[in-house]
Each structure stands twice: as C-alpha cells, then as structure tokens.
Symmetry: C2
Subunit: 443 residues, 2 copies
C-alpha cells in the first residue's frame, strides 16, 4: 500500500490546529492530520509526515479549529422537536398528561414524525452530532428523515401495551418495528434498538419476549428507567420490587441494555448495573427541567459503568445540544462532589463520543479517530474573539464554546453540515413545515 | 407635551414582535412598541397607538425579535477574562494558589486590567449585558475600558490587607478607590461599590471603616461571602463565628450589602439576610465548576431575598454569559426542589434584570421598561430555524436561545452592539492584545 517514495492516494486530508482523537484517552495533538478515504479514517499522524505519505484529492486546512469524533446523542425522541418548549414551567402531570401526551395523541402521524425528525436531524448536525439513539412511533417516517439528513442513527422501536395512532398492542408494535428493521438491514448508517417505553407501560410477558428477541437478533434494548421517584414507587406498588430489580429478574440487564435517566440508583443498583455490564444514557438537562432530580454521575463514573449523554426530546430540554449536556454533566458532577477535578473535560468528551458509541454496540465503528473507523467527525472553530484566550482546546470545548462554533460535520466521510446549514435539508421549507405544526399545536 | 392631533417627536421607536418589560411582572406584549428619546424610555404602548402618538427620527422593525431590558451581570472580575480557562479541572488550591493568583500577581497591571476589561465588555455587550458589577484592581484602567465600551458598570473598589502591585495596604486601596470615585462622580454610566475582597482577607477594623464609609457616601458594599465550606471553617477558626455573623456584628449587613455566592446558608442566616434587606449575587456556574457546592436558590427565593445573577470571572466560568446563568439557575432550582414550576422563566429573567439593578441601587434607573428609565435594552431574534417552533418567547429566552441570538444591545439609548460586534471596540486589535497576554501567561 505504501511503497517507498510513492504516495498513497486518498480522498481527504484534514489539517486542523488541534485533533482530539478520544483514543488514546486524554490526548490533544497539535499539527497532526487526519487521512480519510472511502468514508473511513486511514491514518492520524503528524502533518509533515502526512504530506510525504499521502496524496489527497482534497486538503482542508482548519487553522483555528479542533477536530474530534462526531458527537453521539444517546437518547432523544427526535420527532418531538415540534413540541419544543410547549409545556415549560408546568407541573409534571400537566406537562405530560395535559400537554405533551394529548398533543402527541392527537397529532402523532407519520407526517409529524417525518417533519419533527428532520428538524431534529438538522439541529443535531448543526451542533456536531453525527449519531443519535432515538425512540419513536412511526419509525418508517423517522427512517425517511434520517436517510435524507445523512446522519447515523439507532432507531428505538417503541413497544408498549397501550394502543396509539401507530399500533394496536405490544405485538403490533413489535412486528411493525421488526418488519422495518428487516427492510433496512443493509442500510449502512442505520441500526435498531428494542425500546420498551418504560417498565410501567410494558407487561412482564412483553419484556421477556423483548429479552429473547434482543438475544436472538443481537440488538440493544433501550428504555427509560428510574427517571422519577414516582415511577419507582408505582413499580413497587404494582410489582413488589423496584423496576431495575424487575428487569433483572426478567433477564433484560446485560451489555446490550441501555438505561435512560437512572436518576435514582441505590448503591446496590449501581453495583448491579456495573456487574451486568449495562450502559446508562444520562440526560441531565431534562432531569433538572422536569424536576425529576439530579443524576448521580459521579458514583456511576467511579463504579466504572459505561455512560453516554442524551438530550431527551426538545419538549423537555429544549435544545438537542450535546455541548450543553457535556457542560452541565461536568458542572453538576463537580458541584455535587465538591471536587473541581471530577469529570474532567476529556472525560466529558469521551462520554459524548466513544462511550455513547459503546452503549450502542458501535464502538468498533465510530466514537474515536482510530484508523479503520468511519469518518464521523466534527470541526469546531476556537478562533472567535469571544473565545479568547484559549489555554486548552479540550476544556474550551466543554466550558467555553457553543455548538454554534461547530463549522463542519462529517458522517462516514461525507460533509453533512457546513456554513451553519445541513447539506441535504432545505431549511426554509423545513421551517415552513415546522410553522404549520406550530399553528396546529398552539390551540 | 402631547396636544391633540399633534405627534411628539422622538429619537427612536422600536417595534419588535414581542416585548417583555419585566415590570409589570410575568407579562409578554405582542405588537407593542417602545418609544425612546434622549436615552430614556418615553412610552411602552400598542404599536398602532404609537404610530398615532409619536413621530420618530428612526423606526426599527424587529419582526422576529423579543425586546427586553439589558441584562445585569451582578458579579464579575472583568479583567480576568485574560485568564479564561487557564486552570480548568484542577484542584481548587492549585487553581487559585498555583495558577490564577500567581498569574495575577505576576502580570497584574493597569495594562492587563484595561485589555481584560475591554475583552469582557465586548463579550458582555455581545450577549445582551448592559450593566455589570465588577471587582478589580487598577480600577482607573477598568474605567477607561468601560468608558470606551459604552457600558454601564458598578466598579467594586477592592479592599484587602495584603499588598499587591496595585496598593500597599487597606488604607491605600481605600484612598485610591475613593479618589477615583471622586474623579468619576459625574460620569452618567458609572457607579461604585466598596468591595472588601472576602471576610478572610480583611480585618475587623477595615470592615468597620467600610461600613461607615458605605453609610456616609451611600454606596453599596460588594463582597464574596460563604462561597466554600473552607472559608466558613477558617472564619470560625479565626473569629469564633461564621463570616455572616461577623459581618452582621460589624454593621455591614443591610439594604446596601451584596453577598456574592452565598452557597452555604443556614436557615437562620437566610432569615438574617432577609430581615436586614441584603442582596445576593448567585454565580451558579462558578460554584459548580470550582466544586464549591450548589447555591440554594430556591429557599432564598421563597424567603423573599432579592438576588441577581453573576458570571464570576472567565477564570472560573468560562463565559460571561447571563443566558447560561439564567438557564442553569432555573434548571438547578427545579432539579433540587424536584419541582418543574420552581423559578420560572419569567422569574429568571427578572433576576437577570430588575433584581440585579435593585441590588446595585439602580432599580429606579434601569432593570425594566417602565417609562422614565434609561433605555438599556437588548433584542433577541427568535427566528432562527434551530429555535423553531416557539410557543412562549419568555421560556424560549431561558431554555432555548443562546446569547448569540442577541442582535442589538443598547445602553442609555445608544446602540452599543449590533451585527455581532460592539460599536466602539476594534475586535481585531483586541484579539491581538489578548493573544499577546495569552503568550505571556502560557509559560
């Protein structure tokens, strides 16, 4: 491949000021370059060496930028972007039972999901997110939107017992979801999770079926778990045990299991999640905003549980912005532990990239800049006068920059966001569609 | 002034989509206009009526914007912008004793303060901040920068016992500060606070002198208080009582007193601050980031203590961004109280405007859009596609928008920021100067 005195032809050589590869851990390279070919990372090496070794079709100099892996949003309901801020500052029972759920029930349709998901994809690409873990009804419409956007996604096939506009019962949700998975099985950017909505809305029988399917098909399980005190109390009332214990008994916990929220964990439960190899998707903004509580990121981190960061939906955040979640996770962890060294900037960056990928079973493919992985990347400009001075690009990314400073987002080597705009989405048309939904919803 | 059938000539009529006047509380006006003349607010009224009543030299239509009072940053050390992020993720004793303080001691000079303060003013104007409450050495250099920027500021005249490059002892700090105040007494945008650095660095004798001067000269006192457990323990060790009790005994607590941080307050201390009419400047990002703890905004709020929001310096934040502090205060308060209705968006907006002005004794002049007040304003565009849909502009400001969405900042009727740039600051030159300091500091 690389005989002496001959250069290897590649698609793209990116030469930013700094590169944070996530693997190896805690490193920032200066004056390195990333070589990309056919959608994959070929090499990460000093720029001077790269010039000798590679002959790129395109060379991109980013003299004030830091390049890092694309961010992973480990939990969202992309379609609910159309409900952004529709129930702020209201009591939780009003929020969900009087506003969000009725709006969902009345308006939920394939068209709602297509527009809402496209809006979410555009927003996420704008902020350097290349992969998201979704949970949605009408996943076929979500697939349309994700495919158009060019993003990578794990689509959570929602299962619950109650009927909705989308499906009649648990078996109907499952069979519709699995049929879609079958249709999409060769899609290079899509994967799927089984997504029992929450322990309280799914029976033991359905959960056992999901555990079996997950093992047979080798796909992750993605569910809301221990988000509120109320949920746990209701679980105990109905089943005699806390929800985590129930899921453990039913065989769901394991390395294919992603618990979303996990705000309330007893020490023994942290041990249980750790020993079974489960993953957590922390969504701190949503937990705070809904008054659910404050997730204990520090203990989870120290116990070695793998966790990523999620935005939840725009109905409870109201931004699909992993920069905010990195910043907030790090600040909360330091504040609660009263330790400014807790959950460092590099650790937050790893949670938002590699650890999210690992939870989805995608860490061999994405999440760091190791050669052989897909070229899912974002570049962030640290040159803006408002960000001066910069002593450390890693801490600048977490504590100082905004997602607005993201200048380029690549998925599998394709530039899917640049100059503030997604490559394959007509923003004017999308805004107009969002506005139509706004007028329908703002009754 | 306004005889029938004749229109009053004014300088400017602003007609945004929405106006949030802060007074009356909790209101958002649609299709209203704000009439401005000679730097003051003349009227706030329906747009149709305004067209009949006023003949403006300039009319400004802002069809996708919300107009609100300029934000008040109730605590910062503007000059330390030059130390932005210089000691992130380090233990607190390292942060301060090994990095920040030595850097300050070695490099602190009038030139450092001038450049750092100008950088801070530019950043604050960019994000809709029109007034800040500073604490700095070399305040004459800070006055130069503030005057150039066109901002309004309360300059905290630092007092401590220890010598620095700036002054030799407490009396020297005081006399230098008061001489500057005398020089600037007719400046329309400047006011002053007496700023004992912290109880631990100032003797009883000096604090008593400050209490007397504050009463004689009718200027506020602004000090760090109960920021960390360590500070309180040291205070007890040295003086036998907690710092708040000591300051109370020395006569400092009262309506002219602004306690910065107040992370650790016992119930009796909250009562004491409330009964004496003290104000608090909460700086939640800094408290979390330094591992100091989590301020109890909820109890303070419920006890009726007036409080505003501060950024602290860029050395511990790292953004001088009141949008972040509004969002974080509201999220933290909801999360800790487990109540999503706690500290609503309107309450956060009031803390960041009128309540900050009240703490500084400036609430008759700024902080809301009542006619007669100075036209300190900011306009925020909610039209960006990433912010769609918008159901409520007030909650959008706190939970969804970024300071980057601020399009205009006026101080006393003058447009001091527009198109992302401050009116009176050469950003290229400023960046170059900041870069010189960065190179000196990054030893």
């Amino acid at each position: 491949m690389n005989p002496e005195n001959s250069q290897v032809v590649i698609d793209l050589l990116i030469h930013p000021k700094w590169i944070i590869p996530i693997e190896p851990t805690g490193i920032t390279f200066s004056d390195y370059a990333l070589a990309i070919n056919d959608g994959y990372i070929v090499d990460l090496l000093p720029y001077e060496t790269a010039l000798k070794r590679y002959l790129p079709h395109e060379e991109l100099d980013l003299p004030g930028h830091v390049l890092l892996p694309g961010l992973v949003n480990l939990h969202t309901h992309a379609a609910l972007s159309l409900l952004r801020g529709c129930a702020d500052d209201l009591p939780l029972n009003s929020t969900l039972s009087r506003r969000t759920w009725p709006a969902e029930a009345r308006h939920l349709s394939a068209e709602f999901v297509r527009t809402g998901t496209l809006l979410a994809c555009a927003e996420m690409l704008r902020g350097g997110i290349t992969t998201f873990n979704d949970m949605c009804f009408f996943p076929t419409a979500a697939v349309d939107a994700v495919h158009q956007s060019g993003m990578r996604a794990a689509l959570g096939l929602v299962v619950l017992e109650q009927p909705t506009n989308y499906a009649a019962d648990a078996d109907d949700y499952l069979s519709k979801g699995l049929a879609l998975r079958d249709t999409c099985k060769d899609h290079p950017l899509l994967s799927f999770c089984l997504a029992p909505q929450a322990p309280g809305t799914v029976t033991d029988k359905t959960l056992e079926k999901i555990a079996t399917l997950s093992a047979q098909l080798e796909i992750p399980i993605h569910t809301h778990l221990h988000e509120t005190r109320h949920e746990i109390a209701e679980g105990i009332k109905q089943y005699g045990v806390r929800p985590i214990q129930r899921l453990h008994t039913l065989g769901l916990l394991g390395p294919q299991f992603i618990a979303v929220h996990a705000v309330y964990l007893e020490a023994a439960e942290i041990d249980q999640l750790s020993l079974t190899g489960c993953h957590i998707a922390f969504c701190p903004t949503s937990n705070l905003k809904l008054g659910s509580g404050i997730p204990n990121i520090n203990d989870t981190h120290q116990r070695g549980i793998n966790f990523g960061l999620g935005t939840e939906s725009a109905a409870s955040n109201n931004r699909l912005d992993i920069f905010q979640e990195m910043r907030l996770s790090s600040l909360l962890t330091k504040g609660i532990s009263e330790d400014p060294t807790a959950f460092t900037a590099h650790q937050a960056l790893q949670a938002a990239t590699l650890n999210g990928a690992r939870a989805l079973g995608l860490d061999q493919r994405i999440g760091s800049l190791l050669p052989g992985k897909a070229a899912d990347l974002c570049a962030v400009c640290l040159d803006d006068w408002m960000l001066q001075p910069c002593f450390d690009p890693a801490s600048h990314l977490v504590y100082t920059t905004r997602r607005d400073d993201v200048t380029h987002t690549w998925v599998a080597g394709r530039l899917q966001m640049h100059n503030g705009l997604p490559s394959n989405i007509d923003i004017h048309q999308l805004s107009a569609h969002a506005n139509i939904w706004h007028n329908r919803l703002a009754y």
